[in-house]
Symmetry: C2
Subunit: 480 residues, 2 copies
């Protein structure tokens, strides 16, 4: 890795993003167009995301399972909206073991259909419900315009799939899991999100209702960060997922699905990063504290003393994820820059002079503040500082979002606001609910209805586009 400066975020957000992902060694492009490799540093971040989500899924009664990668093409065709939505994005296996297959196999773009097939086998009576399953897996969607983490042909995700006896239970589950995503995003990823319902044209192919959490990135664009779908009885009817109720009558189940993917890593990068590179929220950061020992490599005495102190400090912080960067061939400044670029929340510098004073230097990545801290206070101070950084990242992202969310008086203002290549933020506006207005707005401004937020006043108003009576305010934005 070279130590040249990256393109500042403030100068070119898109170039900054690509450089940061690659230079911080989170991910890189694969030889197959649109695919990526997730490098160890990026994968460690993903493992922390997985742990935080998986714990929440298990605490809400879900169990993990693993379903097949290959789905017969005929399965997708059983649900009309579903196949229409996913057909253009499929990767298809036509040959296996040297022979052409009788029926082509689809590499799963999502697993509702094949899981529907199994749910039919597993569910017999009301006693088998609710069935609460999650899968951690790779999925493939043939994308033409790809971007590391944000949109790749293959990506990693979890997909929850559940079956219930009643519509109400399915709706409760759908919202519960959206709540889990909200909690994860805000409290682990420090990303403020707006939970809400998707419009008809933006909902999942085959769903009754889709819900989403939407976040504002540093360039004021929206990122859909997690979705939860009430599938109604659509898949239950297509795959005959039925149960005998208490009165011994056969009923179709109500199913849900919900997913969060490696895309969230793109969200973390674009929410918190700055001109110097990544800033990772402490709760998810693979390295929370980097210790950079400073000494002249030919001074064996200094080196020994410094490294002894480093080891002692490390032992005193058993619950902090620490990396010691003692590469003697690189100057302290070079190492500082590298760990700044890689977004480590806290940096500790320690040299011979610090030893004499029983102190270290602690530098915060978020505010760039540096302070001397007595060594005996570190065990108490480091966890407190990590908490503070976590909170500060959330608060400043929230402030940024709120400052860049507007209510506009007219469609002319709206159009003007959305002009140009970039984004100026979110607009909360009334919308009559018609597909036509939504399509027109998208066509004329490139802004889409991100969601109908739960948190809104219920005063009626007039649609920003057509002026008709409107019950619901919507978040409009240009989105990833």
């Amino acid at each position: 890795m070279s130590n040249e400066k990256i393109t500042p975020r403030s100068q070119d957000f898109s170039a900054w993003y690509n450089e940061v992902v690659q230079r911080a060694e989170l991910a890189d492009y694969a030889p197959v167009r649109g695919c990526m490799v997730i490098r160890p540093y990026g994968y460690a971040l993903w493992e922390n995301v997985q742990k935080a989500l998986d714990t929440r899924f298990k605490a809400t009664g879900h169990k993990n399972a693993y379903f097949p990668l290959f789905i017969p093409m005929s399965f997708l065709q059983k649900e009309a909206q579903h196949v229409e939505g996913f057909s253009p994005e499929l990767a298809v296996v036509t040959h296996g073991g040297g022979e052409e297959l009788a029926e082509p196999l689809v590499v799963r773009p999502t697993s509702e259909t094949v899981i529907g097939y199994f749910f039919k086998q597993w569910i017999h009576s009301y006693r088998d419900l609710p069935l609460l399953i999650n899968q951690w897996a790779n999925v493939v969607r043939w994308e033409l315009r790809t971007r590391l983490f944000l949109r790749t042909m293959e990506f990693l995700w979890q997909e929850g799939h559940t079956a219930h006896a009643t519509e109400q239970e399915a709706e409760e589950e759908t919202l519960r899991m959206l709540g889990v995503y909200t909690d994860f995003a805000e409290n682990e990823a420090a990303m403020p999100v707006i939970p809400g319902r998707k419009s008809e044209s933006e909902k999942f192919a085959g769903a009754l209702r889709s819900y989403t959490i939407e976040a504002m990135m540093g360039d004021k664009r929206a990122l859909q960060s997690g979705t939860s779908h009430n599938l109604g009885q659509n898949f239950a009817k297509a795959f005959e997922i039925q149960y005998l109720d208490k009165r011994n009558k056969l009923q179709h189940c109500w199913t849900t699905s919900w997913g969060m993917s490696t895309r969230i890593i793109g969200g973390i990068i674009m929410t918190h990063g700055d001109d110097h590179g990544l800033i990772l929220p402490p709760r998810l950061a693979p390295v929370q504290l980097v210790i950079v020992p400073i000494y002249k490599s030919d001074n064996v005495d200094d080196k020994t003393k410094v490294m002894e102190t480093v080891e002692r400090i490390k032992r005193g912080l058993p619950n902090v994820r620490i990396e010691v960067d003692a590469r003697e061939e690189l100057s302290p400044g070079w190492r500082f820059n590298e760990w700044e670029l890689r977004g480590v929340p806290l940096r500790m510098e320690i040299g011979p002079k610090d030893l004499q004073k029983n102190q270290v230097v602690l530098a915060r990545r978020d505010t760039k503040e540096k302070a001397f801290v007595p060594q005996e206070q570190l065990a108490q101070k480091v966890p407190v500082l990590l908490d503070e950084i976590q909170k500060n990242l959330f608060e400043r992202a929230k402030k940024f979002r709120d400052e860049n969310t507007f209510e506009l008086g007219s469609y002319d203002e709206f159009k003007k606001f959305m002009e140009g290549e970039g984004s100026k933020g979110f607009v909360r506006a009334y919308w009559c609910g018609s597909r036509e207005c939504e399509a027109k707005i998208k066509e004329e401004t490139k802004a889409t209805a991100r969601c109908i937020p739960f948190d809104r006043d219920n005063k009626p108003g007039k649609c920003i586009h057509c002026g008709k009576d409107s019950k619901e305010k919507v978040i409009f934005a240009k989105a990833y």
Copy 2:
């Protein structure tokens, strides 16, 4: 799940295996031939396998990463032996996004080639070595004769890939990871294994040397349970993985790869199970202790008291994985049978009479022993019993293997021993090392050279087949 009796293991091992896997709800066949679904109970077992292995990989300095599912066909062709070995087993994507691809993509059967591509980008100097990477992933090999867990078209595994500066370091790594597998198999899965070297004809396609751990199943067949390969410079040369050494000279790296898969679950089932079903080693069992409360469902007072005690006992065993089976619609006997079939190491029965005596009944799955235990001793006694069961499973599997391992005097005896459809065990025999003898033995007896064990006397002898001087004793067996 019905509670009918399964085919006894002693009567038909193969039927027993299939029934146990499906009835215990570990896995089931998928709509696509040769694929499987891993059900929650089986997946929880796999998660415990993953945790035990992943901890060991990280403790030996490895980092996880994720590489692409799709590999260009041309990559496989870069290593001649490799493409020859894997070509007949490939699943090939020819269409994506509705169009035919210019170059077909292979669904990874293993990732040496695509990882080789990235290692070339990541490795520049001796400072970048060793590079120690692991991946948890799904892979696909087009298999004609499949069997749940043991041989499926898609399976889950981990594949370690490392690069080193010298042949010696690569060899040390290869053996270190075989040691990790041995430790895992014996101390977590309670499976005694024989670590050793593979013969030339049994080694991995593209390897310099392959090592394996071989275990004896309950039907006396061998199961290859994990492999570790020294790839020499074969892949480094094919993919130009080079580094500048300390004298600034360009050198090819030495690489290794090693893998363990969901196959190990088949091994656990076939090592420990009995006529009544699964027996899971406590360290990996998703449920270590099942509590079956017993009361008449119309006696509210009894029910309340029993369930209160169950909750108290549960709280007293915070580090034990416990399931409470309070299904009132099923008799205690039905529930006992089900948890026996599912292999839970310990069962606790508790009813109103036990409450009066402040006791419970504990039943061991391995020995079927039942004993009354005072409630106040449970916190101490349960972990001790789980340890005892773990040890007993290992010891009895080891005894079984040793009792069924033979040294035979002549090739006639050897042929006689291998006669018939079943297996009578392992044979340790001298082998001259020639491919011809190995092929003849396989053809005439269906036994293969499982490994050249590390643990052997070095006295020379005569090849069991051709009678020529022979330095090495080999384990021969019929294998899965």
